[in-house]
Each structure stands twice: as structure tokens, then as C-alpha cells.
């Protein structure tokens, strides 16, 4: 398997899927120049009909995506930063998420919305939101969050092939991560979490940008506390792999959920809620959430970085669960 960077894996998936289906189009602000690199080269390869810069008009961008998808295109709108989703939110929340039901199933909306999310880079409050919660609560759109180059490719392919509106959320700080990526048709099915590391004492449930750091924390837990932590990468938030969540905690009896969302009504909250309900009988200890506290993101690193989940925060949360074994 060739090794490549996260962003290249996304780029490859886009290119392969556009090759596969000539009705697939990509639109968005500066998708031609591609500031993140994910859409680079696609204009040259697929031409100006299928790769189009749009004006700064997010309402129209999302609305046009719904309309073009309803009329036979497979549409990939690129929103750039997640915060710009809000500017085009009507066509997402009122159209993409609802048209299928409202039409009695007549309409199919094969849309893959790309947006880059997350903090840690001093981009300040308007360029650092993690929009998992509000998209997941819509219920009418699928939400996928890749964590490594290989599932970035696989999930992008699945997202594009899905006949539902699907958000593909790029972890902002992870574009440079390198990893092995399968060649060709590697589709990661939506709705399947993956166990990144097996463990027997504790389940660390996470997704996207937080996965790498959670794995580091798991290693530290092994060495520092002798705790065997399983790491479950959700991969897709809608549909959510409830079975895998319950199975993991069934094995370990303890869970910490790590999520870059702001805490209130986060995906972490929802996973914890599932455990408090369907997983209750498995639970040997409180379910903790490692999230961003309920504030907007500050600019200065000294104020921003401590707000983000970190291996440190995970380790100290775990310590509270295993007071005796703590060295």
C-alpha cells in the first residue's frame, strides 16, 4: 500500500470517484486553487464544467447543491471552513435534511459536503468550530469523520457513493498526517466503527482529529497505569455504530468519550447517553467526556490549546477510574 498524506488520500478519492461517475461535480469557493490541497488538480483533470469556483455565496452554494443533486448530478460542495456551514445552513437543515421525507421519498440527494473543522491552530472562534453536534441532530444528513489517510479515502468514497446528503468533515490539523492507503476501490462502509486498539479495562471512544491523540493516551495508560484501553474510532456519526459502542463497553465495563465538540449536546454526550441506557448493565464506573468546554475558541495558543482534549486530560480522567492501579 502506498504511503501518503491525509489530504492526498482525500484528493485521490475525489479523483477516482469523479472518474467513476461523470455526473459527479465539485463546486465551492476556490476549489480550483484549493487552499487545503484536497481538490488540487481536479480542474485540470475534469474540466471547468465539473469543477467550478463559486462566488462567496454559501446560501446559494448549498441550495444549488440540493437542486443539482435532485436533478441528476452527484454534487460535492466544498464549504472550506466548518463555520461557513452556518452561512448556508438553511439549505442544509431545511432542504437537504428534509426534502426526501417531505417528498414522500420521491427525491434522492446524492450530495457530499466537505468542510474542514477543529481548533488548535490559532484561527480564532470563526474558523475553528467542530460541527458534529448540530449536523448529527439534524438526522437527515449522514456525517462521517475520517481519522487516518486510509479511512479518509474510504469514507470519502462511501460518502460520494451514498445517495443521501453526507457531510465529510476533514480534521483541520491532520491534513499532513501520513499513512498507508489502499489502492483503488477501498470503500469504508458508513455506520461501522473500527477498533483501533484492543483492550480489556476501558473503552476510549473517539473520532476524527482526536483519534491519534487518544491512541497516544492509550499507550500511556498501558505503561503508566497498566490499564488496557480499547480505542474505538466511530468513523461515522450518522449512521452511528451503536452495536460497536455497546460491544466495546460490554468487554471493558468502562468508557471515556473523547470528542472535539463543545460539551453540551455533543456526540460525546450522546454516546454517554447510549451507555447510560442500553449499556447500563455493563458499566462499572462513570462515563466521562473529554470535550471542549462550552466556550468559543480563543486565538492565543495559551488560551486555546488547554481547551482541547489532550492525552493528558484522558490519562487523568482514566486515573480517576482506576484509583488503586495508579502508580
Amino acid at each position: 500500500m502506498p504511503r501518503m498524506r491525509f489530504i492526498q488520500a482525500i484528493n485521490q478519492a475525489l479523483a477516482e470517484e469523479m472518474e467513476r461517475d461523470p455526473r459527479t461535480i465539485l463546486i465551492g469557493e476556490d476549489v480550483e486553487a484549493s487552499i487545503f490541497g484536497d481538490t488540487r488538480g481536479l480542474l485540470d483533470r475534469f474540466g471547468a464544467d465539473r469543477v467550478r469556483n463559486t462566488p462567496i455565496s454559501e446560501q446559494a452554494l448549498t441550495g444549488i447543491s440540493a437542486g443539482a443533486a435532485a436533478c441528476g448530478c452527484r454534487v460535492i460542495p466544498h464549504m472550506m471552513f466548518s463555520n461557513f456551514i452556518y452561512t448556508g445552513f438553511d439549505a442544509i437543515a431545511n432542504q437537504m435534511a428534509k426534502l426526501r421525507l417531505m417528498s414522500g421519498g420521491q427525491i434522492t440527494l446524492p450530495i457530499t459536503v466537505i468542510a474542514n473543522y477543529g481548533g488548535g491552530r490559532s484561527t480564532a472562534a470563526q474558523h475553528s468550530d467542530t460541527p458534529f453536534s448540530l449536523l448529527t441532530n439534524l438526522a437527515g444528513v449522514e456525517v462521517v469523520v475520517p481519522s487516518t489517510p486510509d479511512n479518509a479515502k474510504g469514507l470519502m468514497k462511501a460518502a460520494i457513493r451514498s445517495d443521501n446528503p453526507t457531510f465529510f468533515l476533514e480534521p483541520g490539523g491532520r491534513g499532513g498526517d501520513a499513512g498507508d492507503v489502499p489502492i483503488g476501490d477501498c470503500v469504508t462502509p458508513l455506520g461501522e466503527a473500527r477498533v483501533m486498539r484492543e483492550g480489556s479495562d476501558l473503552s476510549l471512544i473517539t473520532m476524527g482529529s482526536m483519534t491519534r491523540m487518544t491512541l497516544l493516551a492509550a499507550k500511556r495508560l498501558e505503561t503508566e497505569l497498566g490499564v488496557s484501553a480499547e480505542v474505538l474510532d466511530l468513523q461515522s456519526l450518522v449512521p452511528l455504530d451503536t452495536t460497536a459502542i455497546l460491544a466495546s463497553v460490554g468487554r471493558t465495563g468502562r468508557a471515556i468519550v473523547v470528542d472535539e465538540s463543545r460539551d453540551a449536546c455533543s456526540v460525546a454526550s450522546h454516546v454517554a447517553a447510549i451507555l447510560a441506557d442500553k449499556g447500563f448493565d455493563h458499566l462499572k464506573a462513570p462515563v466521562q467526556r473529554i470535550t471542549v468546554p462550552d466556550t468559543a475558541m480563543p486565538y492565543a495558543p495559551s488560551a486555546e490549546l488547554p481547551l482541547l482534549p489532550s492525552a493528558e486530560r484522558i490519562v487523568s480522567a482514566a486515573k480517576a477510574l482506576f484509583p488503586v492501579t495508579a502508580k
Binding site: A60, A66, A69, C73, S103
Partner: protein, 331 residues
């Protein structure tokens, strides 16, 4: 560009067909108003009685494969696009046999197979969707046109400007049709709308027609030019049609408002310019049909509506699992 310069006329067959369809809309909506009072509909309705000529005049020039986007006031667009009246009543009655299986209701009656890319409860939302349909059409290259119906109130949504800009830049086959009925809910246009709406398209180099929306011939003639403009690949076009809705904003307004927001005189003045009656007068004047024939057309429309009521009433209530099943493709 002002109102159409040409004086071309629809031939008798076209005129009569438009009249028939206008009658079907009018009779359907009058029935729906009664149905709401009778409690036959679970929700309220927004009627377009008085505005029939716009929907009919425009849609007469559209083919089945052409798309439209409709509004919360969409019964007329639905019927004008040739969709099934039975399935509309069943929908509005909340039945599984409805065009949207009872999932959408009055604000969302739309037959996608006939090119209606949604009737929309969000004012202005059709603008982006129609522009997207225009993009799909352009890429397909077969000359399909997407028409977007929207109100004078919707013209104040910024999305209008965005879509005018993009459709002009990309020369998309999108026909913007502003149904200016003088009100945005209970606000007279002048209190919420600055200037002339169709002027808003001009900075984008989009050709504009400003017409009498109660004159079906004027609408038809304008559509002939405007649709052709779009279909030929010349880019978008913009029609503003002045019209009026007799029944007001929605079926419960008399109950919820403490004071009336328009005068009886105003309503009467518009009734004197009724598009259905004018079309009938034109038909008689031209001798395209006589009184008895026109009468028969009315009775036909009544019969259609009666049949639709029966169909709707006989329909079944959708079962609770329906929503879950229909939410996502592949589920």
C-alpha cells in the same frame, strides 16, 4: 426590457387548455378552503386563488422535462405543471395515497416525475434549488429549463441576489418568476420592499419582463420569449408578474388576526380583474368557445375536484413507521 413587445397570441386550443387548467386550480382551491373549515385537512392551506394566470401562463410554455420550484402557495403550480389532482387532495388530507405519501402536506405538494423539485415552506429556498436544477440542465446539455416561482416577499431574501449573480455568470437556463401579489404575509409590499423588484436583476445583465400577472395571454407571451431565452443557452431571465391572492395569506388568518390588513375595496378591485373571468371573456370574444361550452368546462372541473375529494377521503392514514422508512435512501 419591459413587457413583451410582441403581440403574438395563443391559438384557440392553447387558450382553452389554459382556461381549463385555471378552472381546475380555482375550483380545487375553493374546495380546499371549504375542506379546512370542514376539518378534512389536518393543517392549514395557503391558497393562490386569483393568481392562476401566472402559474398557467408560465407552465404552458414548459415541457414535462423542464423543472419548476414551487412555494408554500403551490397548488396552482402543481396543477399547472400537469400533476394529478387526486394525489394532491390525498396529500393535503394527509393520506398515504398523496403525492408525497402524506409526508409533505399542502406546503409541499410536488410530483418530482413531472419536474417539480419541491414546493417549499421556506420562503426563498426555491431560488437556490432552481439554480441548481439549471446547473444540472446545463451540464446535461439537452435544453431543459428550470423555472423558479417566488413571491414579492421572497424577493427580499438575499439568496435572490446570489442566484441572480451565479446564474448570470454561468449562463444557466433559469427562469425567475416573481409572483408579486402585493403582500408578504400581512405586510404590504411597499412597507418591506424598496424599489421595483425586477430592477434587481438588471445589474446582472439579466433580461427582465414586468407584466400583468392577471392576463394569461400576457404571461403566456412573455413566457414564450423568456423560456426561449433560457432554452437557447443565453442564460437566465426574470419575469415579475403583478397579481393578487383573494383568500389572503392562509386559511386561518381571519381567526388569528385582530384587525384586517386589506380593504374590501381592494379585494373587489382585483376581483374585477379576475384572470379566470378575463380568460373566459376572451374565449367568448374570440368565439373560441361559446357560453355553453365554457359552462361545460366548469362542470368538468367541478367533477374533477369532486373525484379528488372522494379519492382523498377514501385514502388511508400513513402508518407511524413511514417517516423512518422514507428518511434515507437505501433504508
Amino acid at each position: 426590457m419591459a413587457a413583451s413587445a410582441s403581440n403574438i397570441q395563443p391559438d384557440d386550443g392553447v387558450l382553452i387548455e389554459m382556461y381549463r387548467r385555471m378552472l381546475l386550480i380555482r375550483k380545487s382551491e375553493e374546495q380546499l378552503f371549504r375542506d379546512v373549515k370542514l376539518g378534512r385537512t389536518p393543517g392549514q392551506v395557503h391558497l393562490s386563488d386569483g393568481q392562476e394566470a401566472v402559474a398557467i401562463g408560465i407552465c404552458s410554455l414548459l415541457e414535462d422535462r423542464d423543472q419548476i420550484t414551487s412555494t408554500h402557495r403551490g397548488h396552482g403550480h402543481y396543477l399547472a405543471k400537469g400533476c394529478d389532482v387526486n394525489a394532491m387532495f390525498a396529500e393535503i388530507y394527509g393520506k398515504a395515497e398523496g403525492i408525497c405519501r402524506g409526508m409533505g402536506g399542502s406546503m409541499h405538494v410536488a410530483d418530482y416525475s413531472k419536474g417539480i423539485v419541491g414546493a417549499n415552506g421556506i420562503v426563498g429556498a426555491g431560488l437556490g434549488i432552481a439554480t441548481g436544477a439549471g446547473l444540472a440542465n446545463q451540464l446535461e446539455g439537452e435544453g431543459r429549463v428550470a423555472a423558479c416561482f417566488f413571491g414579492d416577499g421572497a424577493a427580499n431574501q438575499g439568496s435572490l441576489m446570489e442566484c441572480l449573480n451565479i446564474s448570470s455568470l454561468w449562463r444557466l437556463p433559469v427562469l425567475f418568476v416573481c409572483e408579486n401579489n402585493g403582500y408578504s404575509e400581512f405586510s404590504p409590499s411597499g412597507t418591506v420592499t424598496s424599489g421595483v423588484i425586477s430592477d434587481r436583476a438588471k445589474p446582472f445583465g439579466i433580461p427582465v419582463w414586468n407584466i400583468d400577472g392577471n392576463d394569461v395571454v400576457d404571461v403566456w407571451r412573455t413566457a414564450l420569449e423568456a423560456v426561449d431565452h433560457c432554452r437557447s443557452g443565453a442564460g437566465p431571465a426574470f419575469v415579475e408578474a403583478r397579481t393578487y391572492r383573494y383568500s389572503g395569506h392562509f386559511s386561518a388568518e381571519a381567526m388569528v388576526l385582530s384587525t384586517p390588513y386589506r380593504s374590501d375595496e381592494e379585494i373587489e378591485a382585483w376581483r374585477a380583474r379576475d384572470p379566470v373571468a378575463r380568460t373566459r371573456a376572451l374565449i367568448i370574444g374570440r368565439e373560441a368557445a361559446n357560453d355553453a361550452e365554457c359552462e361545460r368546462m366548469e362542470l368538468e372541473a367541478d367533477a374533477h375536484v369532486e373525484g379528488a375529494v372522494a379519492f382523498g377521503e377514501a385514502g388511508t392514514a400513513p402508518c407511524p413507521g413511514t417517516a423512518n422508512r422514507l428518511m434515507r435512501a437505501g433504508s
